[in-house]
Symmetry: C2
Subunit: 470 residues, 2 copies
């Protein structure tokens, strides 16, 4: 198996023995991951409450055994938060390591090649829900800390772990927890591994994240489902009304037409646009990997600009009427949709939701009633501070482990806590991710590339050392 | 209970004893209906195959016990067809009595107040799937024939029953059966009771039916569900594409914008438009009964004109993406819709489907693939021949039983066989229905008004007699 850590000539003292330890414990560390992945910790499903508790306990047990101090499972109004720290290096900087043990739902279940909670290893990858997003990635940090402690009895820096269980549902209880635990979480820098490498063997530092807002829509018409022959043509059809409303969100060029929505969007800087052009992006490979010949989207922007610098309004789910086999000629009483919006600076979830809701109310056709259910929480968009000294430490660590310089990339997804660290704790964040672009997070057959798992863990051991050098 | 038959001064000879028999057997006849309604004969569900056979057998057993000749269950490529006849009145006309023992699916099941196949009687109504559409109504004919035979040992006319099991799925095997069994089905007139009275106590003869065509749509995009953050904005969303496509079917005034679709529509004649105006139609009561304040539809037409003289394109079902509890920020791989069209003369299912499919292909946005699954079969629209002598016989029978003249009304729904009787057997049809407008066919809590069940059965006994008078 490639990716297993190996030492270099120029390594810092002690590094060689830590890397040898990582190499010797590869199978054991993979089994730890498998063990955690077996727990179906789906935060959005009420029936998985016990699994959420098991998922948190697994992680607390690991950190306690690794030698961390003050390991605590904090109850919240939702799912528990795990913290642990090691603060025995008084002159060294402190790193806040954030991750999450909750995972996305698994449907459509039929498209999984194996059970989403029965991890299988195939072609150098482990397939399971949560393998990439985010158990596999936070576990690299946990194992990097554990290995360093096991070999040296010390860490070169101070660390505090913050591992939550509500990332996939918008972290509703995390902001309150951050504010209430400022002292416990005190740190000079946060690091989050919940993003991707650029490609196999090409490391990346993520310089931007989109924010998130979500909304559920219900359109109702008659008090009951009607016979489409006896009533069709004389009664507004909620599904038709909803389709018409959704069709007004964008024009034919893919430009969002919700009044005011684009007013808050800060255009990419010349530096940012130039950086995008320099990325070795294989457009056709990107789309072929998802069985498409080409992309689609807002006119006037390239694929990477659409993903990194432009906001979206996406229909995540839409349903109503008869969805079973055969036909049923019904005029349905209700229609439903789930929308989510990816936001870019300087949008906020509150303003974006307000504008979309006002628009939907304005375009509701006669004869139906509209009800809107905005989701609380959401996430602010975020951009990396390019002056951050830790960026240099990460560049060096990744270069040493991967044997090549990392790319500075953007990311279209959302990690709400990153903006919250800055806003609520005044802590800047570094995003370094190790899953591959075809890891299928939020989709069937989610996977983690095992060589990347191992080289990622090595990168983190090296990163801790580099940070200690200032 | 009101509606139980009673004799009148001017009744034909023998009528009094038949009506007394109906009155004496009211409970027994209701129990027969309950017995049949317990069989979940849903023609569109493969898992109900055995119930389809039971439903057909129940009906054959009844007709055999009633004294009909040649009772036969004919296998077809789909569900069986039951026929039976009584042709012992050589000089009298022959009536082809058509009905169906199959029923619609039952979902949304949660909205039923009792099980759809556990019939309950409440407030003078019996609630069960199939009570109005059509077991309850064809059973009135079966019981009218049985009672006449039981009391008089004879019928005043010849009859042939034709009871099929595929009406709710578009009768795909019936046209072939008609053509292959012309001699068996030879008759002077067909009668169908699968429509409504105008209101409680107000009988109606239905002078028009809309036709039916149906289509299933699949729009597909990426090969798997994608993370809406990592891909949103750069990949076409199949749900959004489908919503946009469906929104082009009509304009904002409710006028169908599918090129050519309205070209085949014959406008209502001045007589037809005048007849609509004369109908005592309480617009607000009609919409209040379905919990609406008002209707909606094509500009320039009244509610009854929209229902009787204008075609529709209706979305019966629409689905895709995440439909469960909570949220899942997915960009779905596929989107689906079920459409049905109600057609008016001189549209045909084939031409209507062709035009809608051509339009959908033309408006498919880039980045998604469209697949269309037109349903075979469908139904031609139909208008009553106003010169038909049997109309007078029905007028008299209904007037005597109900104590008031029937209205001549239209109907927005479809009974495909009616056009087929004319086209394939050269037999004209009379439509006389007895369910109430709020019978909820195709919807939860389908019901049959029991006084109407009884007065309907009386009407049919009287109709047979009136027909025999020429």
């Amino acid at each position: 198996m490639t990716g297993i850590p190996f030492a270099r000539e120029a390594d810092l003292p002690g590094m060689r023995t830590i890397l040898e330890h990582l190499r010797a414990t590869g199978t054991e560390r993979l089994n730890q991951l498998i063990d955690w992945l077996r727990i179906p910790s789906i935060s959005s499903h009420p029936e998985n409450q016990p699994d959420m508790r098991s998922g948190a306990a697994w992680c607390a047990d690991f950190l306690r055994e690794a030698g961390l101090d003050g390991v605590t499972i904090h109850p919240t109004a939702g799912h528990p938060i795990v913290t642990a720290s090691w603060r025995r290096a008084p002159d060294a900087p402190t790193l806040l390591i954030y991750g999450h043990y909750d995972v996305q739902p698994v449907d459509p279940l039929a498209l999984w090649e194996a059970g989403p909670f029965d991890p299988v290893v195939r072609d150098d990858r482990i397939f399971a829900r949560g393998s990439a997003d985010d158990k596999g990635q936070i576990l690299m940090h946990m194992q990097a800390v554990a290995a360093t402690l096991a070999v040296t009895g010390n860490l070169p820096i101070n660390v505090v772990f913050l591992i939550e269980g509500e990332e996939e549902i918008g972290s509703p209880n995390l902001p309150g927890f951050l504010v209430a635990n400022r002292e416990l979480l005190r740190a000079d820098l946060a690091v989050v591994s919940d993003t991707c490498q650029w490609a196999e063997g090409i490391p990346a530092i993520t310089a931007g994240l989109r924010g998130l807002a979500a909304l559920e829509i219900e359109v109702s018409g008659p008090g009951r489902d009607l016979h489409s022959g006896s009533f069709g043509g004389a009664v507004a059809n909620p599904l038709e009304a909803l389709a018409r409303m959704l069709a007004t969100l964008k024009d034919e060029r893919g430009v969002i037409r919700v009044p005011g929505y684009l007013d808050d969007v800060r255009p990419p800087t010349p530096v940012e646009r130039a950086r995008v052009v320099e990325i070795p992006f294989e457009e056709s490979a990107f789309f072929n990997a998802i069985d498409l010949e080409s992309g689609a989207g807002e006119a006037g922007y390239s694929t990477l600009e659409r993903l990194w610098y432009r906001p979206t309004i996406e229909i995540n789910g839409l349903w109503g009427g008869y969805m079973g086999p055969g036909s049923k000629t019904v005029l349905p009483a209700r229609a439903h949709a789930k929308l989510s919006m990816r936001l870019v600076p300087d949008q906020t979830p509150e303003r974006a939701l307000e504008r979309v809701m006002a628009h939907l109310r304005a375009v509701t056709p006669p004869g139906v009633r509209l009800e809107l259910f905005p989701k609380p929480g959401g996430g602010l968009p975020w951009r990396l501070d390019p002056e951050l000294p830790a960026v240099q430490a990460a560049r060096r660590a990744l270069s040493e482990a991967f044997g090549r310089e990392p790319l500075i990339i953007g990311e279209g997804a959302t990690i709400p806590v990153v903006a919250d660290f800055e806003r609520l704790l005044a802590i800047k964040t570094l995003l370094v991710g190790f899953s591959l672009p075809d890891a299928c997070p939020h989709a069937p057959n989610e996977n983690l590339h095992l060589p990347s798992f191992h080289v990622g863990t090595e990168s983190l051991v090296r990163f801790f050392q580099q940070l200690s050098l200032g």
